[in-house]
Amino acid sequence: MPQDPTERRVVVTGPPRRALPHARLRSRGWYPHAFGYYRPRTEIDEQTTLGHTYVRSLMRIQLRAGLTVFAVLALLVGPLPLVFAAAPDARRLEWAVLGFGLYPPLVLLARWYVRRAERNERDFVRLVEDR
């Protein structure tokens, strides 16, 4: 047990505040645990190497969100011309899918991405503001 009051304050106020966001953020690819007790906001503002590492991790996680949705889009749309070419008798299916069926998934994918991208940004702000 540390006797010195200043030393004790460092130990007690640091980790408990950050414990919750850490576990959740780390599971999504953040690695803020490497930064110890620096204030990330200052690092970003002063454009240090450490600050750039923060920005880079934000870019990486946003790019991953975009690529995930793009992969779903490619898997959804990519095989369709092949399917229609393989089954030339399924004209009604082609009318239904291209005329109506593809638009709802496109909007849903967009909403899913926006929610994910905004959550990534909120988590990042919470991380660097040290809240």
């Binding site: 906001r41 920005v55 934000l58 690529l67 793009f70 889009l73 702000v125």
Partner: protein, 571 residues
């Protein structure tokens, strides 16, 4: 079509556009208002404006005509136009807004700190913008000729050019935003209301559904007058009564049994088809001015062509100058994203309608395939299916909507091109020079459309998408996500990707090399030119590592950091 209703409808649309534009003018005061509406346009208004701007003549008339002629494969066009916005949202929307630039050349300069790349991007913006303006002006001429018999071809284009130049020069972006939002709802109404009546009439008719089967067939005996000469491609023998010249021989009301194969019909010939006859496929000779038609190459390489179309539309949307400039009017990156989702919903809702017209057109007006007039299907259907005064009124509504389509897309493009001309070509900045730039931006395509009247302008739309997908798409995506991009790499990628796509389509338009696999490769360049653009940009950038701009890290931080963290960073 009865011009008694249609002409007042078109006049009313033009008048309403001017009035809404004038309303915007009253609150448009500063230079910032002019270029980006002071960046205060909320998601809902902005989304309606983006959609209104995006849904051009090709969407309003062209898709239904294409579906009528070539069947459901052509529905890939509206799907691609919509999905292009999803791709834009995933990779570009928020960072583009946060880049804080006004135009695409501004973006290139901010990211790469290079005047040369800026000028190159400006040249591509002006080129793509003019290519896209050309079909709008020619389409306006076509519509006016369809509703007002005897009007000269150039009149519609001149009306659109004058109205658009006046609105853009007077009010800039602020008033354009109101005009575009108004015109989205106008266009939706102009297609939706007649579509409801058409579907009701179709149901009363016993809801015949053979339109979904291939190929379309005549429901009753129908006389078709072939305006320009064309080649018929028959899969099976066809029995038809002919007044005129077929395969070089003159017939006067003889019933002919044409064997399978290709037959040439001279212009002015009347063909009478019996009930239940399948509509034959027309070969060369049918020029659909608005529809990006490449009927021949599709038959030769349908799968390749479909994938080429998908790639061009999915990746081309993000680089269209009139689309991109809209994102700068959002207040912040989060709003830019939400705006894009709203745009997807609005555009998707609109694109549910053209297939309805296409399918009903196959049922009730299948002969449009032969007369080379398929783009008029949307305009003619109300009269054909409903008839009487009701049909005339609905037809007038559609004609007004079509004119709104030309006006809105043309004003957005003029805005983007004028922005580039004002900032990069004309001597000094300011509102007066912006007005000069507007006149210049419109004068060139107007002159071209009057001079090259007979050119298949539809190819210009496809060309614009392909060029944009292979030049601006790599620039935007790599510029936003890849920190090792260098100015020489960006310039080389845009030149090689966009330049080769441009040359390929120009070669096809000039009729080279006619047939075969090379033709398909050149007519649908996106499948190879987009990867080529990306690859060149990456390889040249990697070969010039010393040229990475020094400020790259802080520029990328500005692109990606949420606004609430920004104040100190950008300082």
């Amino acid at each position: 079509m009865n011009s008694g209703y249609a002409v007042p409808a078109v006049a009313l649309v033009v008048l309403a556009t001017v009035l809404v534009g004038a309303f915007g003018l009253r609150i448009s005061r500063t230079t910032s208002d002019f270029y980006v509406a002071s960046r205060t346009v909320g998601p809902r208004l902005n989304a309606a404006a983006i959609s209104g701007e995006y849904l051009s003549a090709a969407s309003f008339l062209g898709i239904a005509g294409l579906v009528l002629v070539q069947g459901p494969d052509m529905l890939w066009y509206p799907v691609g136009y919509t999905a292009g916005y999803l791709v834009l949202l995933l990779f570009v929307a928020a960072p583009l807004r946060r880049s804080g630039a006004y135009t695409l050349p501004d973006f290139a300069e901010a990211r790469l700190a290079s005047q040369a790349v800026r000028r190159l991007a400006g040249a591509f913006v002006v080129g793509v913008g003019w290519l896209y303006l050309l079909p709008q002006l020619q389409g306006a001429g076509l519509t006016l000729t369809a509703v007002l018999t005897g009007a000269p071809d150039w009149l519609g284009g001149v009306i659109v050019a004058v109205v658009v130049t006046a609105i853009v020069a007077a009010g800039g972006m602020r008033s354009i935003t109101f005009v575009q939002a108004f015109q989205y709802w106008l266009k939706l109404t102009a297609l939706l209301v007649p579509a409801l009546f058409l579907v009701l009439a179709w149901q009363r008719d016993g809801a015949p559904s053979h339109a979904f089967d291939e190929p379309a067939a005549f429901r009753e005996q129908r006389v078709v007058r072939v305006e320009d000469g064309l080649d018929l491609r028959l899969e099976e023998p066809l029995t038809v009564t002919v007044h005129g010249t077929v395969d070089g021989r003159v017939h006067r009301g003889t019933e002919l049994r044409l064997p399978a194969g290709t037959h040439h019909i001279d212009g002015g010939t009347r063909l009478t088809f019996a009930e239940g006859t399948e509509v034959p496929a027309a070969g060369r000779g049918v020029d659909d001015a608005l529809s990006p038609s490449r009927a021949e190459s599709r038959e030769e390489r349908p799968l390749y062509a479909t994938y080429g179309l998908i790639l061009a539309t999915f990746f081309g949307t993000m680089g269209l100058p009139h689309v991109v400039v809209r994102f700068y009017t959002s207040p912040h990156g989060v709003a830019a994203r939400r705006t894009t989702v709203a745009v997807l919903g609005l555009i998707g809702a609109f694109y549910l309608l053209p297939p309805v017209y296409g399918a009903l057109g196959r049922l009730y007006a299948p002969e449009l395939t032969l007369t080379g007039n398929a783009d008029a299907a949307v305009l003619l259907l109300p009269d054909r299916v409903i008839g009487g005064a009701g049909g005339d009124l609905l037809g007038a509504l559609v004609a007004g909507g079509a004119f709104a389509a030309f006006l809105s897309t043309a004003s957005g493009l003029t805005m983007a091109v004028a922005g580039v001309l004002t900032q990069d070509v004309l001597p000094s900045r300011g509102v007066r020079h912006f007005r000069l730039g507007t006149v210049l931006a419109m004068a060139v395509p107007l002159g071209a459309s009057i001079l090259v009247g007979g050119l298949p302008v539809a190819d210009a739309v496809g060309l614009a998408f392909a060029v944009s997908a292979s030049s601006f798409c790599p620039l935007l995506v790599l510029g936003i996500w890849w920190r090792r991009l260098t100015p020489p790499g960006a310039a080389a990628g845009m030149l090689v990707g966009g330049g080769s796509a441009f040359l390929a389509v120009a070669a096809t338009m000039a009729g080279y090399p006619g047939e075969g696999p090379w033709h398909a490769l050149l007519a649908w360049p996106a499948l190879w030119s987009v990867p080529l653009g990306f690859l060149t940009m990456v390889l040249v950038s990697l070969a010039t590592p010393g040229r990475v701009p020094p400020g790259t890290a802080s520029v990328l931080a500005r692109f990606h950091l949420p606004e609430e963290l920004r104040s100190e960073v950008s300082a």
